[in-house]
Amino acid sequence: MQPVVHFKNVNKSYGALTAVDDLDLSIAPGQFVTLLGPSGCGKSTTLRMLGGFDSPTSGEIYLEGKPISHLPPNKRNVNIVFQDYALFPHLTVGRNIAFGLELKGMESAAIHRRVTELLSLVSLEDHAERMPAQLSGGQRQRVALMRALAPDPNVLLLDEPLSALDAKLRQQMQIELKSIQKKTGKTFIFVTHDQEEALTMSDVIVVMNKGRIEQMGGPDELYARPRSRFVANFIGQSNFLESTVVSVSGGIAAVQWRGNVVNADVNGTAPIPGHHVTLALRPEAVFCLSRKPEDRPSLKARINQRVFKGAHTSLTVTLDNGSTLLAQIDPVALSHVEGDDVWVGWRDSDAVLLAQ
């Protein structure tokens, strides 16, 4: 299938500063795609270039196969939801949503129908005559979304639109956004620095760092199979085990880690015995048992710190080899407290080798 958006070798620099570095990215139609990364990673610049508010220093952007880099924002069939919503303060909610339709030359009866239809999509039918200043944050967010959807764009761009909302409303809006995307079947390109937002809504997450794509894939894939230390650290938490490859067989590598031999998934890398590698291990993949299990390998450790976090309990344990591991366990699974000895380990496939 032809990608709806294609960035081909796109560079953007501001003087000596490179914001986007040789970006090559194809986005399939109808997907919820999230550009995820820390501030300054180039995700917003990428979005602004697609919207037409910045132009690439070199390279070309294609929308449905046609180059668009030279087009001004008003000539592109993409619409953007701004971080601060940018609702026109002098226009009512209805007129805000109608703005793009009026410029398309649509007749007023059709505009009225479309505005009513869009407002009912977010249950704001009776707010059409309100001014933006009279709306709550969540309502403004919905109006901004509907205003951007009104002209029926091929691609909807969302620039951290949830960051101004409180935590509870944000979660609610995440679900609402996802369901609107499904209902309309449009391509959503969402920019955020919040990994939880990305994991909740996306079909595809593009992790960006220093103007480059660090890794791209489904949320579960990125979470379970991070390829770099950056991704493993940015999405969720990870333990990093610096080790040396001993042997490889059947996709599982045996590595020497501080005097212990442990197993890990090769994760698409080609480890060479004797070479140094880094293992990433999710805290919730680490098991802690009171007695040494017979059926699987484990290591002896002492609990350093036990922190109750509600849904789970977080343990910091120190192993006999001197290193520290972070583990997340079920609060009722283990009654041991700080200073107690436990046995820790993980399934071979839960620890993954990182590409260097």
Partner: protein
């Protein structure tokens, strides 16, 4: 907010304010009162009250002509100063303009140059470039004087304008001109309105510039000045009272409007 003047006795503050207020209002009240005096000299007591001075003023062809002339000049001044002022404010607020500070400083200069100096230099200037004294020269001088106030008001408003508003309009299909007309101008409206009221009031009020640059036709201040030369009379008081009431009404309405659109 913490009241930093809690330590001062409230009564002292209040009393001194009222002294000031009386000083402010009393001359105006006296002037107004005298316009109702049934005698052709100004002195207490008023004695008999009359509206005859007002009926005389509103039938005074000179007064009506001068009023219309002043209003015409004020309107022309307002239109030209608003256009120039908005233009300069947009220039100064644009990101990549060379010499921004110089443009701004030059635009604001007329606000600090004394009116008399301004008037004399304009007089020399129009003679040098062969512009006759009269309506056009007056409008020129009034415009130069009014522009800084428009620039400052519009610029203040522009700086509070989210940059994304214009981007959003462009994104929804507006070209730069449509975006300016449909988003920037409406956003600037309170500032434009305030600036325009200010232009009208300063223009109608101006005496010095008009005195140096005017022709044979008198504006309202010139007419009143000429009449005062012939001695004060309740008729002048009636004229002044009319001007006072009208300008105060305009000022109050402007204040009300800007306050409403801000909330």
């Amino acid at each position: 907010m913490r009241n930093y003047f809690n330590d001062l006795p409230k009564s002292a503050l209040g009393a001194s304010y009222w002294i000031f207020a009386v000083y402010l209002v009393l001359p105006l009240a006296l002037m107004t009162a005298m316009s109702f005096k049934d005698a052709n000299f100004i002195a207490f007591p008023i004695g008999n009250w009359t509206l005859s001075w007002y009926s005389k003023v509103v039938q005074d062809k000179q007064f009506l002509e001068a009023s219309l002339y002043s209003i015409g000049i004020a309107l022309a001044t307002t239109v030209s100063a608003t256009i120039i002022g908005v233009w300069i404010a947009l220039l100064v607020s644009a990101e990549n303009i060379w010499g921004k500070a110089v443009i701004f400083a030059l635009a604001c200069l007329p606000a600090v140059v004394p009116g008399l100096i301004n008037a004399i230099s304009m007089r020399i200037f129009i003679r040098a470039v062969d512009i006759p004294t009269g309506t056009f020269a007056i409008i020129l001088a009034h415009t130069v004087h009014a522009v800084p106030f428009v620039v400052i008001m519009v610029l203040t408003r522009l700086r509070s304008m989210p940059a994304n508003l214009v981007d959003a309009a462009r994104d929804l299909g507006a070209d730069p001109f449509i975006a300016f007309l449909r988003v920037t101008i409406p956003y600037l409206m309170p500032a434009l309105f305030g600036g325009m009221i200010f232009c009208v009031l300063t223009s109608i009020d101006d005496f010095v510039r008009t005195f140096f640059l005017g022709g044979y036709q008198p504006t309202l201040p010139m007419l009143i000045f000429a009449k005062v030369q012939g001695g004060m009379s309740p008729e002048i008081n009636a004229m002044a009272t009319i001007v006072l009431v009208v300008t105060t009404a305009i000022g109050l309405y402007a204040e009300h409007f800007t306050r409403r659109s801000r909330s």
